[in-house]
């Protein structure tokens, strides 16, 4: 049996890993985006109360390697009495870490908006949450889509770190197959191909959002 045939016969392992990586990526991307948007909303208004703690959180995350956060949640927290499985610890780390990055991207774009928009919306009787949801957030998403796309690819790549805290994802699949059958080259080529596929798909998705935005006339806003 050639090496490729061995890999084909153990395709279930790859598909399991691929499914797990996609699941981690999908769930954490959505939750991290929501967290980022929520953080930016909390920074809304002329004098937000939580400004200083939120800045400390966002900047702190941006100075930390992702693996250290994962270590902290998986190995560190049990000694503080909080015990999570590797999968949940990994997911929480992804959401917290990338939520802070999303918040920073959105916040950077938010500061470039004209103040008049907010004043006009408030004068029209928008509540603060309604104004944020209807006026600020759609513009933020369309304007930052390039940076968001890059961040999503970084998120995808960070899921591979979770192999170190024993999550069974795509890289773990390649690692276990290569040690079982001793075919590292082929196993990793397949896995790198999978990652490449997901990031090419992401790039296309970002382009699609841009086209949707152009159709709705956001380029003129």
């Amino acid at each position: 049996m050639s090496n490729w045939e061995i890999l084909w016969s153990s395709r279930d392992v790859f598909l399991d890993g691929f499914y797990n990586t996609l699941q981690l990526f999908g769930i954490s991307a959505v939750l991290a985006f929501l967290l980022g948007a929520a953080l930016v909303f909390l920074l809304e208004g002329s004098r937000p109360r939580l400004r200083i703690p939120l800045r400390i959180f966002i900047d702190g995350m941006r100075m930390l390697p992702f693996l250290i956060l994962a270590y902290l949640l998986y190995y560190g927290l049990p000694s503080a009495g909080i015990r999570m499985s590797a999968w949940y610890a990994g997911l929480t780390a992804l959401v917290l870490y990338h939520g802070a990055y999303f918040a920073e991207i959105l916040r950077g774009c938010r500061t470039t908006f004209a103040q008049g928009q907010v004043e006009a919306a408030i004068a029209q009787g928008f509540s603060l949450p309604g104004m944020f949801l209807r006026i600020i957030l759609p513009q933020l998403i369309l304007k930052t889509r390039g940076l968001m796309g890059n961040q999503l690819i970084i998120l995808l790549k960070d899921t591979a770190f979770l192999v170190i805290i024993t999550v069974r994802e795509l890289t773990a699949a390649a690692n276990s197959l290569s040690s079982t059958y001793f075919i590292p080259m082929e196993a990793f080529i397949v896995v790198i191909g999978f990652y490449w596929l997901i990031s090419i798909g992401l790039e296309q998705f970002i382009k699609l959002i841009g086209r949707y935005g152009a159709k709705r006339g956001f380029e003129n806003a």
């Binding site: 100075m63 693996l67 190995y75 790549k157 591979a160 770190f161 890289t171």
Partner: protein, 213 residues
Amino acid sequence: MDSSAWGLLAYGAWTTAWISGISIAIGVILGLFVALLRVARIPVVHQVLGTYISLARATPLVTLVLFIFLTAPTMGLDINRNVAGIIALTLNTTAFNAEIWRSAFNNFSNEQREAALAIGMTPWVYFRRIMLPQITITSLPGLVNEMSFLIKGSPAVAVIGVVDLARVTNRISAVTYEPLPPILAAAAMYMVLISLLVWLQRLAERKANRLAV
């Protein structure tokens, strides 16, 4: 944590620093060469490098580190963990640096080239004396940003057993049965290392802006 734990942490920090440092140094220079080759648009080389950059940017560092460390022996190459880690980090950062250099090349004004050639400079003298000093300064903020990304990604080498600042926390907690203090200490050390780079980046940005005016 006692003094031997702090000693181990310092050792881990040193490992992270030198592995990242070597990768950064090679990556910046190699990135410049890759960008030069890309700008020259040599038929086959251009496509090969384009594929390399696209692949290297999509591949997670952990996967790349494992790939290189496990594949090298099957091809008859005997490399140790540190070298495998440095190769993986370098391959990754070179791709990102090449894109930073390339965008600096593409934004460079053509008038300067025409003027330099008109007064009789050879292309090499023009590149060395006029283009390189300017694009170095304009791409410096991007390069420093990429350096801080590399340091944040460097714990990936822990997966093949290099005892860097992230992995050393496991080793300490294996002795003390208290994982929280070493992890927090390592986090603080990373923060110092990265905030140093962020400060450098701000400095570089100020210099680049002054030049742009």
